[in-house]
């Protein structure tokens, strides 16, 4: 009865879980990697771009611990800054992007091609703090935003080196092989940006950029007191949409809506969208799938793993269940899953190797006699003490 109870619970939870799974991304965490690659005061706008995106993803719920913010220069504290300690992305200076709640993970000269690729592929030195690591898994959706000065298939880092489209594509493939993402949204605002994602070949990547080959990306406007351009056009119009439409993390706006809002005339370049590597229909992909954090609490693990996890839980709770008994109880669920194609078979196999903290007893042995024995021992002690005290009084 007990076992069948567990089985029905598993079936119930899977049935509840499955329809959600079809409509929504299968991710369980959201990460953002926001990179400004250019140095120097006159590139203020690139830092403002990135900080704007930082503000947006934080607004939509991604915690600082899951945002890797790479700022290649410190314009806020540049002596040339008319308003020390601030970064604004608009001449109205309504929002100080630098604020008092900002966590920069890679700063100044730490922003290099090497560090960026190491971050993506998690090939970092052992003493790297967690704040500088992209601790994602195959259920993480990653939003990668880059901005700086670029050209055909390259993006300049720090006025000293550049990352090529091939470098990023290969890094993403490594991420895929190391199961470091579920889906990825790559967004880049630079000159000839669309060439940067042209070399991607790993699955489940959606990419968008600000301008085509041989097209420049332009700044939107300058602040005449700060004395520099404060934001780029593509980022500006992305933000405009996000600020006016995606009010909170429960927003139902999709990436199709966002991409449809792009106006090449306003942006002054032709933004590109690459969907061929991406499995889902954009009109079903919520913006918050990438820019927001996972809001609803879900059972850890996918359907295939659920029964294994339940078995482990059951054993952990002390129930002595054999593999065969469990399979019998789970038959219904398994049949249901085997009918639909599995996406993450290998991970299931790996999952099986995990034994869990279960206490395993031989068949037929139960707790009852153990309990009786221990209770008896305690009783004997009390009786012994009582007898001894009587003898002592006498």
């Amino acid at each position: 009865m007990k076992l069948s109870g567990w089985g029905s619970l598993a079936v119930l939870s899977t049935l509840l879980y499955t329809p959600l799974c079809l409509a929504h991304s299968q991710h369980t965490s959201n990460w953002a990697v926001l990179v400004s690659t250019s140095r120097f005061w006159f590139n203020y706008r690139h830092l403002a771009n990135v900080l704007s995106m930082y503000r947006t993803v934080k607004r939509l719920g991604i915690p600082d611990s899951q945002i890797i913010l790479m700022l290649s220069d410190d314009v806020a504290c540049n002596p040339r800054n008319t308003f020390p300690g601030t970064v604004y992305n608009n001449a109205d200076r309504a929002i100080d992007l630098y604020g008092d709640n900002i966590e920069v993970d890679y700063r100044g000269y730490e922003v290099t091609v090497e560090n960026f690729i190491r971050l993506l592929t998690d090939r970092v030195p052992p003493d790297t703090p967690r704040s500088k690591r992209l601790l994602t898994d195959d259920r993480s959706n990653i939003f990668i935003y880059m901005t700086g000065h670029g050209g055909n298939e390259f993006l300049k880092f720090q006025d000293a080196e550049e990352i090529s489209a091939f470098d990023i594509a290969d890094a993403f493939q490594q991420m895929f092989e190391k199961k470091r993402y579920n889906e990825m949204l790559f967004m880049i605002d630079t000159c000839q940006a669309n060439t940067m994602y042209s070399k991607f070949y790993s699955p489940n990547i959606l990419a968008t950029g600000s301008s085509e080959l041989d097209q420049s990306s332009y700044s939107h406007h300058a602040d005449n007191d700060v004395g520099v351009a404060v934001i780029d056009r593509y980022t500006y119009f992305n933000l405009e949409y996000l600020e006016t439409h995606v009010k909170n993390a429960s927003s139902k706006h999709t990436l199709a809506d966002l991409f449809n809002s792009y106006d090449p005339v306003k942006i002054a370049s032709t933004p590109g969208i690459r969907t061929d590597l991406f499995q889902r229909d954009l009109s079903e992909v919520l913006i918050t799938d990438f820019l927001g954090n996972v809001q609803s609490v879900e059972v850890d693990g996918d359907g295939m793993r659920l029964d294994e996890d339940l078995l482990a839980l059951a054993r952990g709770a002390g129930y002595n269940i054999s593999e065969a008994e469990w399979k019998e109880a789970m038959r219904g669920t398994r049949e249901f899953y085997e009918a639909s194609p599995s996406v993450s078979e290998r991970s299931t196999l790996e999952q099986k190797t995990w034994a869990g903290p279960a206490r395993v007893y031989k068949d037929g042995e139960t707790d009852f006699w153990r309990t009786v024995m221990s209770a008896g021992a305690v009783a004997v002690c009390f009786v012994g003490y009582w007898l001894f005290s009587i003898v002592d009084k006498a």
């Binding site: 120097f40 005061w41 006159f42 540049n78 002596p79 040339r80 800054n81 300058a222 005449n224 520099v228």
Partner: protein, 625 residues
Amino acid sequence: MALRVPVNLRKNLSVVLYAFQALSVAAVIIGLASLLLLPLDEYSRRTYISENALLPGQVHAYFGGSEQNIVRAFRKEVAELGNSTSDVVAFRMAEIFRSAGLKVGQQKYSYKAAGGEYTGENVYAVLHAPRGDATEAIVLCAPWKNIDHILNEGGVALTLALSRYFKRWSLWSKDIIFLISADARAGPQAWVDAYHDLHGANVQSLSVKSGAIQGVVVVDHPGPYHRFESLHIMYDGINGQLPNLDLINTAVQISRDQMQLRTDLQEMWHHEDTYRHRLRTMLRGMVNQALGHSTGPHSSFIPYHIDAITLATHGDGWHDEMSLGRTVESVFRSLNNLLEHFHQSFFFYLLMAPKRFVSIGTYLPSAMLLAVGLTLTAIRLWIDPRSRSSTDDGQAVVKNAGEKGGDEKKKQTGDQAATIPKPIDGGPKRELFLPLSVVIGVHFCGVIPFAVFNTVDYKSMANVFYIFIAASFVLPMILATLIALTTPPRRLMQTFHLSRCFSLLFLGMFLSTLATLNFSLSFLIGLFSLPLTFARATPTSTPIALMNSILLQLTSPFAALFAVAGYWGLGVEDVLREASFGWWVWGMWTPAIVWCVWWPAWVVARVSVDASFVMAATGKVPVGA
């Protein structure tokens, strides 16, 4: 030893000689024509800002409002001190700077040149960048008296007011030095020398210093008038060096686009951007560059690789000192944005309108071609058979072959080929001793005028100059007579020939080298030296010799000096004093080049021409003439 030419050409050398002549003429013509083509749209370019960091005109300039009262007050202060001595002025200026909370330094200097003494006291103040690191500085300079010796009331008042105003901003990344130099010529030089510890005992060291100077803006707003019409941007440095084009472009863009101020270059007040105006602007710029003198306080900074310009007001219009102040403020905000020393844009260029220029790649060929014309002539003279000595037994016929065409030549060469088997490089040798000693000796003589004009007193300058003209007139004649009387006839023509050859060779090489450093000077000397290519010894034709002689006189360094004096409306002694002052104070090389390179080349040419008269007069007709 001789130029290797195919044997058949050796027999028929006239083809080669004519080819060289044609080439050198073509080089000169193309060189001149290409200079005249430069102002056309196809050859010149619009200026543009290369340095991304500058961001000219992207900031609001806030200098205005009540600041105007402060400027007016300082103007009054300056006007009252107008007739005071330099030390009183420096004392009062230092007081004002100190009251604004700046570190102040004073510096006395004294230069001696052309019998005159140039003394004064500079005063300057350093505004440390509140959030900067004191490794770099920019300079705002106002000479107490401008280059025309007019009290720079507006400029000094504005500098004082701006020193208070700039102090209130916290956004400076570089220190700002406010310099009030005692004059516009020696003062800035003394200051910049001392700043780099390269000053002599006649100049005091600086007590306060800052970082490496990245840019200098000089404000020249003389006289009691508040209002002006346009900004005159002066940019020529000592020895024809120029500031980076980005600095000029920044100033032009800010004045024109942000402040709606007209900008002028090279005193072209009515520039309509036509071919004529562009050409005139360019030529005026070239004259300034060729002279290599200081056109304002900015000039002294440029040899230190510090980019500097002077913003001088001109005319009477609706702009007041506030417009000038805002322009300076905006230029300073741009300089403040700099991350590295100016390096992106051109250092070698010719400006023909405030927004149009040609860069070195386009203009260099014209000066080079002139120099090439001289060098080609030298090579032609070398391979010319007349440069070889004729033997006594009439072998000179071979050498005549080049000049005398026709069947006679064929017959003679045919005879020789039949009788004497000649080596390829055979024939009579060139006698080099005499021509080389003439050329080298005359070049050494160039030191004499150079030394004399740099030491002689201003009062006797004109007299010494006229004596020197007379001496230069007589010297070639004496040399020609000596050579003509002492040299055997068979070597006579050869001597003049080879001395011209060496002299032209040296001049050609020197000018092509100079063209990369001071294009204008090289071009102008090349232009004046054109007669040297054809002024030769013509013992058979006195009229040609006379014509050559007159042409040489018209294109002599003296004629050029008179031309320059006439151009500026000065006496020739003023030009010489300027040259002497330039040499002693600024380290100006123009007099050295004129006296030690150009003048000797001219003398050598004169020797050949004068020899024609001597030979004609003495009846000593050389063999082969």
